[in-house]
């Protein structure tokens, strides 16, 4: 593959800030289109395979954060290269063995259509399983964040929640969030873009200012 071709292929993969690629897929909740989720945020995530231990712990984790996500107007949808019957059996098994009901849809992506569209397969790791990808899609169906974890490592549900809380805070207040930010912590005021704005920032009252480019404030 030459460089031009490589660039072309890569350019086809979803990027942060770009519209989420549309699809229609068979799921445990029937045939769903991505556009069905318009107006809600969506966490679209892939897992390697049903009836595997790390994925089971993740599904338990996702089912635990699902009510909190719903409060934040966020829906969840899983995906793996398994049949809908396998998904149904696994979800029933999780409820029976672990007491957690899986209330979100799971895509049965047997033809790898959605997995390929979203770049969820890492051929160096596995050609037959999806890696642990997470796509955070906002209510206007724009991709806002992407996380990839390898097959061996279960994801951190707390971080997924925190990430969406940070994105929604950014949207609501026009601010950024610092490392390890949690709701209630001070937020970053966007840095000034001109010398005049920098001078004004240095005179601003009621903010925590380290220097003209580095200031934080409480959200009221």
């Amino acid at each position: 593959m030459d460089n031009a071709m490589t660039t072309q292929v890569l350019a086809g993969l979803p990027r942060i800030g770009s519209p989420a690629p549309q699809f229609e897929a068979v799921t445990t909740h029937g045939v769903l289109k991505l556009e069905d989720f318009k107006g809600s945020w969506l966490v679209l995530f892939s897992h390697p395979a049903d009836f595997t231990p790390v994925c089971t712990t993740e599904f338990i984790g996702f089912s635990e954060i699902h009510p909190k996500l719903r409060e934040m107007n966020v829906e969840l949808m899983g995906l793996s290269i398994d049949s809908v019957y396998s998904h149904i059996a696994w979800a029933r098994n999780i409820e029976e063995k672990f007491g957690k009901k899986i209330t979100f849809p799971i895509i049965a992506d047997l033809n790898k259509e959605v997995a390929t569209l979203y770049g969820m397969i890492m051929p160096g790791e596995s050609k037959t399983e999806t890696s642990r990808a997470v796509f955070v899609i906002d209510d206007k169906q724009i991709i806002r964040a992407i996380i990839y974890y390898p097959l061996s490592t279960g994801r951190n549900m707390d971080e997924i929640l925190r990430l969406i809380q940070a994105l929604q805070t950014t949207d609501k207040h026009g601010v950024a969030t610092p490392a390890n930010w949690r709701p209630g912590d001070r937020v970053i005021i966007p840095p000034p873009k001109t010398q005049e704005m920098a001078d004004e920032r240095m005179k601003e009252k009621g903010i925590e200012r380290v220097d003209w480019y580095f200031s934080k404030k409480d959200l009221k």
Binding site: H29, G30, V31, D36, F37, S40, E75
Partner: protein, 74 residues
């Protein structure tokens, strides 16, 4: 199919959706009335239109006679 089986029977959710259409309603109004996620309502509406059990007029939906019969059946 999510709410219409291959043999033509419909789920309890589909019956509730059809019964909610006493007057033409939009997808968001139906979701609010049923307490169901909007994505599931949109998917069910698409399926019920294909099955001829409801009809869309603009962005509102109403039940057909066939849909009312199905929803009333035990």
């Amino acid at each position: 199919m999510a709410c219409v089986s291959a043999d033509g029977t419909i789920t309890a959710t589909a019956k509730a959706l059809i019964k909610s259409l006493e007057v033409p309603l939009g997808a968001e109004e139906i979701a609010a009335r049923l307490g169901s996620p909007l994505f599931k309502v949109r998917s069910s509406l698409r399926e019920l239109v294909e099955a001829g059990l409801i009809v869309a007029e603009g962005d509102k939906y109403s039940a057909t006679e066939a849909g009312k019969k199905k929803a009333a059946a035990t």
